[in-house]
């Protein structure tokens, strides 16, 4: 049985980026389900709903209007105060600003900091990280 994610949550205000990421994932067949949130608030709403499964992977953009990526992480922490979250959060951003990279490194819960665009290679890397000992050629 092929290893893949059960559910990936995309958090990005850019419609084109979300669509592109979706297409890439479909081409790779790397996840069963893709959830798309066009804003951080929408993502929180989706995650708050009881029926929503915990996504394995959350791809999070930083620069979004309204609630930005950093604020999302604060709200996300409050959601999972009582039970530990098993989601792997990866920051996927355009910002090459070293300040942002530093800031991400200091927050526990962020597994990686990647620059757009999302590629097959990156997704493969994340899958390996999430389910270690799986993936082709291991």
């Amino acid at each position: 049985m092929k290893n893949k994610f059960h559910c990936i949550l995309l958090v990005d205000d850019n419609v084109a980026d979300n669509r592109y990421n979706q297409i890439i994932m479909e081409e790779m067949d790397i996840t069963e389900k893709v959830l798309v949130a066009a804003s951080a608030q929408e993502a929180i709403n989706i995650l708050s709903q009881q029926e929503t499964p915990h996504p394995d992977l959350i791809l999070l953009d930083i620069n979004m209007p309204g609630m930005n990526g950093w604020e999302f992480l604060e709200a996300y922490k409050n959601l999972y105060i009582n039970e530990k979250s098993t989601s792997m959060i990866v920051v996927l951003t355009t910002s090459m600003n070293p300040e942002d990279r530093k800031k991400a490194a200091q927050i526990t819960g962020i597994a990686a900091y990647e620059i757009k665009p999302l590629t097959q290679h990156l997704l493969q890397k994340m899958l390996l990280k999430y389910l270690p000992g799986t993936g082709s050629g291991q």
Binding site: N14, A16, D17, Y20, I23, T94, S95, M96
Partner: protein
Amino acid sequence: MKPKRLKDISITKKLYFIVGAMAILIVVELFTLWFAIHTLSSLRAFVGAEGLWSKAQKDAVYHLRKYNQTHNEADWTDFKKFMEVPLGDHRTRLELLKPAPDMEIARQGFIQGRVHPEDIEGMIKLFRRFHNNHYISKAIKVWTTADSIIATLTPIADELHTDIVTGKSPDERMMQLTRDIDTINQQLTALEDDFSYTLGEGSRWLENLILKILLIVALTVEITGLLLTIAVTRSISKELKAINKATSKIAKGDFTARVNIFSKNEIGQVAADVNQMAEHLILSNKELEQVAYIASHDLQEPLRTISNFSGLFQRKYKDKLDADAEEYMTFINEATARMQSLVKDLLDYSTLGNHRSMITINCNKLLMEVMQDIDAAINQNEAEIHADPLPVIEGYAELKSLFQNLISNAIKFRKKDIPPVIHISAKGDEKEWLFSVSDNGIGMEAIYHERIFTIFQKLHSNSQYAGNGIGLAHCKKIVELHLGKIWVASEPGKGSIFYFTLPKHTTYEK
């Protein structure tokens, strides 16, 4: 108004104060000197007057004795005449002892005593001011005694005169009178000596005192001047040192350096201004960086979307595209890629030198590193790189990029059939280092010698030579970061020599 602290007072004022204080002390010195000379001169005049007194007294006694012998009325007249001198002085002494003396009477008395008119005022002042001084009062006592003794001469002389005139001059009486006159003369001689010696002693004492005073005042002037100057110099020096320390750090690129401010005077003001300038530098750098990052981010986003989806498009509809469509897509993709590259280069260019810090660079080692980094290009082109011994200099780390760009260009713009030969050298004078990077490549015409340093300027199309045309603009910016200049000497087909200067930095000795 709050009283100012001492160190906040303007330095100019302090310096003027020192000059003023010295001037005042020197005036005090000069006044002391003038007073001393004037007083000693008056003492000299008194001694002179005593001499006139003694001479007149001796002459009087001489003529009295002569009269005694000759009975000549002329001698008696002479005796009277000479007696006028001590009498005149006597009158002056009595007048000057009064609480409110009549100066005219005192003057006339001295004139009668044959004192030179120009000395009189000084002598009167000396008598009035210092009659309580040990020596002066002693001399006055002697004078007083002499006056009373010479007064006894007058009745004796008168008796003699009367006797001679009337013819009654018994020998006994005459001999007695003569003996009395001699006794008086002897007494007066002793007193005259005493008067002179006393004034002499007084003179020497005064001389000694004045010299001591002059010495003390002179020392005071010197020491005061020195101490004040040292104090002001030290505070100026301390403040300037603090400014120097911070400004040399700032000049080398560390804008976080701040000056310690010790006062609110002119220098303190400069220090405060320097701190403000450094603050502005940090802020404007931050702003520049932020703008650059935001601009590149905002520009990159749509570029990325185009790139992503045109790539997807080509992949997904590969079978459905004809040759024309393929060509159009290729143009789109290449243009997009180029623009992404340009935006990134622009970001790099605009943030170049934002975090500069001056370090010691061994150019020989630097060259080795560069050659390692572009090792592939060197081997591919069979390039030869020679270098003269290069100096160790103070510069910014960006210098490595400068060397890399120049050498990469020299390799890139080679003649097709001739492997690139590159030579690097440097020579320095006391002002600056002059580096040169020469090659045997394709060269360029004179009209392009300045244009090539402009950003995004290329002399060839992308199909001929790859690249965005940013390398030399980078080099220029790096050289200008060092406050140097860069230029090229080149002819088509004859290679190029790129020159750049790096000014040397002077640090003043502590």
